[in-house]
Amino acid sequence: MDNSEKPACHSWQNALILSAISALAAFMPACSYGDPCLRTTDCGSGLICSEGKCIVDPGDNPSDGSPPSDVIVSVDASTSDGATRDTTSIPDTSSDTATPPADSSSDSTSDPAVDSRDGTSDGDSASLDVTQSDGTDARAAADISSDTNSGDVGNAGDGGMTVDAIADAVDAAG
């Protein structure tokens, strides 16, 4: 037999061996899918690939999740000169309830607080302590004095209720 003419069965055997090696590569135990990602499309919907890991997409509006309601909100406003005023106001329910970024807090109110949030008006010297109560201790909205735009209460830049409107709302709720 000519050495260049190998029987056909030898080609089949070689083909099977190489195909088996190729198939084994698909089942290597050290390699698996999961959180690690090398391509952006490796992550599922709602996830993004960052630094080799699939993480939840933070989105554009980091909401605090608090539902809009007519709870009474106690606001402690302190200006940059350290003066503290106790105020109470009803939050603007028409907004997306996004709270101002947390910052330094001033004196707390005397109302029992279910939870508390600290907020500041953006770009001004006033700091606010916002405390949610269960609405039983209604307080009249007093004056809120700050260097910011008048009428902003807690939520920066979204046009909060005026002081008179807050007082009327508190009276109606009381």
């Binding site: 190489l18 050290a30 390699c31 899918y33 690690p36 990602c37 391509r39 952006t40 960052s50 080799g52």
Partner: protein, 169 residues
Amino acid sequence: MTRWTVSLATVVVMFFLCRSAAAQRLVTGGGIGIGTGLQRSDLIQEGLFQRARTRIVVPLDFRSDEDMSQGLGIVGIFEVEPKVGFGVEPRYQRWFGKMLSGFVGVPIILVPKSLVGVDAGVDFHLPFGKSGMSIFVEPSIAAMPFGTDLPGDHLLIWGLISAGVYGQF
């Protein structure tokens, strides 16, 4: 005058009596196979490699019968697992005999996001039967530096192996 007439008549007769010359003929080969492999990026902090996506490859190559040692090819890439995708790879192939060839190409993943790079590899053709069919095994290595499918400024490296059936037609 008689000389020119005879010469012209001779040329016309030769034109109609000669057989048409044989031009180049296109030799086409194609196949279908399945591939997988390993991938690596500097994003991986744990372990060395990840398993690359399983793909179905459909290679086509075109050669001239006057020069069967080289040709151009195009490969359809269908990623099927765990995520789907589609791409193509134009390549230049060089044959070193009937059973071995090498190639360099530009793999381009088109959807759902783009991924572009370069790759190189070899093809082993194991003939079976007398029909001209063969089984091909194709190990390759690719570097993918461009594309919207890359998270940030990172390079993706593939070490792939594909196998399937191939034939000329």
